[in-house]
């Protein structure tokens, strides 16, 4: 009996300091939902093809620009503009993956911080002294929004824009245009390559910890839905975050804002596709957050509720003017309606979904209250 007591105390002290490491999973015994399949499906059928497509589009943009630089005519200018929009559309499928290399090189911030700062851009052009790579003050002077300004915002129409670039005195503008585009190509290739290289490691990290792939992906997805989609595309332009009135200038693609609706619909499509695990640009579905939620809740009530919010948001956006700037000026309440509907989605994602998945976020100790 007496020996036993000492023995227990020893156990306590021993186990206490050696228990926190987890060992390998025994994979032979799997008889339940396999989370790695989500990672495989999302990576192989969504992320990688989307990046491939996007890289292609951004390279095409660069090619069209060099064509325009050589031969400055209206056809070539409009080709650059068209390539800009094509790439911007595919970008809507990329922005939610602020993860791995993308996070490290501030990919999202560099590609799509809007509104662009006209004064910063003009200043960079006139001084010629700028660093798009390291200086984060320049996030507002590069990427899609800056191209938006340089391609659509300098003059009232394409004829005047063409004349502007044909004028040799404005060569600095053309140079800046090129610098911004090559920077975009450069970081896109870095992030894109990294996805290919780290695919295997990423896909195998399916455990439930703050730094595992699945948890980061889920958190990023929800963050994008709330911030990138709800707040940036609707909330801020509609003015719901400021005491002053609506801020038309905050519309995505402001200088070519007839395209703003199409961009936001594309973003919603990407969100829906990710949640349901639909293959990028093709038919077919695989394991996804949706199937995982269904497994955890043993019904599809929650996942259907979430998809319904996506669909309802889509309908509301469809009813908007193609040009969000016009929509805000004529009837801002319709913009706010979309914001409210997206907010209903945020609630389901941040409370119900996160609850059910018990995604572990190890900020601090907790005792589950």
């Amino acid at each position: 009996m007496k020996k036993k007591h000492n023995f227990y105390i020893l156990i306590v002290l021993f186990i206490s300091f050696s228990c926190s490491n987890t060992t390998e999973l025994d994979e032979g015994l799997v008889d339940n939902f396999d989370r790695q399949q989500i990672l495989e499906n999302v990576t192989d059928n969504i992320i990688l093809p989307a990046f491939e497509d996007f890289t292609q589009k951004i390279v095409q943009l660069e090619e069209s620009l060099s064509l325009f630089t050589n031969t400055k005519n209206l056809v070539n200018l409009e080709e650059v503009q068209a390539r800009w929009f094509e790439a911007y559309k595919i970008w809507q499928h990329i922005e939610m993956f602020n993860i791995l290399k993308a996070e490290g090189v501030y990919f999202i911030q560099k590609m799509n911080t809007y509104p662009a700062s006209v004064s910063k851009i003009e200043n960079n052009i006139s001084t010629g002294d700028y660093n798009l790579e390291t200086n984060n003050n320049n996030w507002v002077a590069q990427g899609f929004p800056t191209l938006d300004y340089l391609l659509f915002g300098l003059k009232a129409n394409n004829t005047s824009t063409l004349l502007f670039y044909q004028n040799i005195e404005n060569i600095a503008y053309l140079n800046y245009l090129q610098a911004v585009v090559s920077q975009m190509v450069h970081i896109t290739e870095i992030v894109s390559q990294d996805w290919i290289v780290s695919r295997d490691v990423f896909v195998s990290s399916s455990e439930n910890s703050a730094t595992s792939s699945l948890n980061m992906l889920t958190n990023d997805f929800i963050y994008y839905f709330e911030k990138g989609l709800r707040t940036n595309k609707f909330g801020i332009p509609a003015g719901v975050f400021s005491a002053k009135n609506a801020r038309v200038g905050n519309v995505e693609a402001y200088y070519n804002s007839t395209k703003s609706k199409e961009l936001s619909l594309e973003a919603l499509k990407a969100v829906k596709g990710f949640f349901k695990g639909e293959t990028y640009n093709s038919t077919g579905t695989g394991a996804s957050l949706k199937s995982y939620v269904d497994y955890m809740t043993e019904t599809n009530i929650l996942s259907l509720a979430i998809i319904t919010k996506f669909d309802e948001s889509e309908q509301l956006i469809n009813n908007l003017n193609d040009n969000f700037a016009d929509q805000i000026i004529t009837n801002n309440s319709l913009m706010i309606n979309v914001f409210d509907k997206l907010q209903e989605g945020v609630i389901l994602l941040k409370t119900d979904l996160l609850s059910v998945l018990s995604i572990s976020v190890d900020y601090i100790d907790a005792d589950g209250d």
Partner: protein, 457 residues
Amino acid sequence: MKIRITNYFKHQTNAAPLAVFRIFFGLLMFVSILRFCSKGWIHSLYIDPIFHFSYYGFEFVKPLGTFTYLLFLICGIAAFLVAIGYKYRLSILVFFLSFTYIELMDKTTYLNHYYFVSLVSFIMLFLPCSAQFSVDAISRKKSYKMVPNWTIDSLKLMLGIVYLYAGLTKINSDWLIKAMPLKLWLKSKYDFPFIGQTIMQQEWFHFFMSWGGMFYDLSIPFLLIFKKTRSFAFFLVVVFHIATRILFPIGMFPYIMILSTIIFFDAKVHLRILVCIERILQIFKIKTHALNKPIIQIEHYKVRKLSKFIILAFLLLQLLIPWRYLLYPGELFWNEQGYRFSWRVMLMEKKGNSVFKIVNSKTNSFFYVNNNDFLSDVQQKQMSFQPDMILEYGQYLGNHFKNQGHQNVAVYVESYVSLNGRLSQQFIDPSANLMDLKDTFKHKYWINPLKDEIKGF
């Protein structure tokens, strides 16, 4: 009866359990403070945030800027001095005050086990924990062999209360009939070695753990009291707490409980532990005896009469406090009126989303607040589903924007919460202007009732 009571309070016992308890408690607290610092939590929890959630009546307790580090330093040193028993009374007083101050600085970090530490250190203020085996004993050259038995029993009772209430609160329909929230938590720990993908996904296992946890908590105080079952009970304590440590991010709590329950063993065990500690100290050439003069062994330690009554009243209060929720209408898990300080541990998977709307009540123009501008992630997470925190933060926002020059400020909250796997529902009455409300001990009528019923404690 009266004689029996007086006899009970006269009963003396060896002081070793108190010494062991003091050493383990002090060391664990010392390690806890070190761990807290090393994780960078002093900065992220107390220095970085611009707003802190206060406890009712303790609004004056706020982080001290850079001096917060000093506070932790003092607390850590005090814990160490408690462990070695140096100027014990002063050390434990400083520890109690500094630790409790730290806990009162921000409600966000409320944990039952921090509350437990505060309570235990309060009790220890009145116990002769440095009677034996302490620096004090060496320096005063007096060591006391015996102490009143009730001093040790008071700690046992405190531990018993914790387990018993933790068990009672598990008797509710979510926990026992739905195996919630354990079902969600266990299923989500699929990366747990060996059983994560198999047994832990099984429904029977979720129920087994829920019911097992309830029976464990309810029976463990009794199993620890009786000598026959004590060793087995301690074995259970070790297994249970290690298991929870591996499964859930509950920090130091399991170790605190494991080492605390050693107090239930009789003095012989504790004397042996003291011998072990002595040997360890000898390795480091630390002498546990005075150099020249031998320590005088005194038979009995006299504890002041008042201490006895304070402890008695205190423990009685502890028996009552967890029941205060009965004074409120509505669902306890939802309204959280009387939820804290009552050993309700691991009972809820509750998440919320609360968006605050600042309205000019004359023009009806409004804007939403970005919570990131004011709160840390942890604060947002906790605030989003706790009514008193929603109110406190809402009023802070209202005053903040008033001071910025906004007119006719009214604050509304669009708050949604999901509880134990239920679909989320609106939490706070969206038409309630938070600026018109007051945080009191009265029922918070502005919480929308839960559209479901949870039966039980």
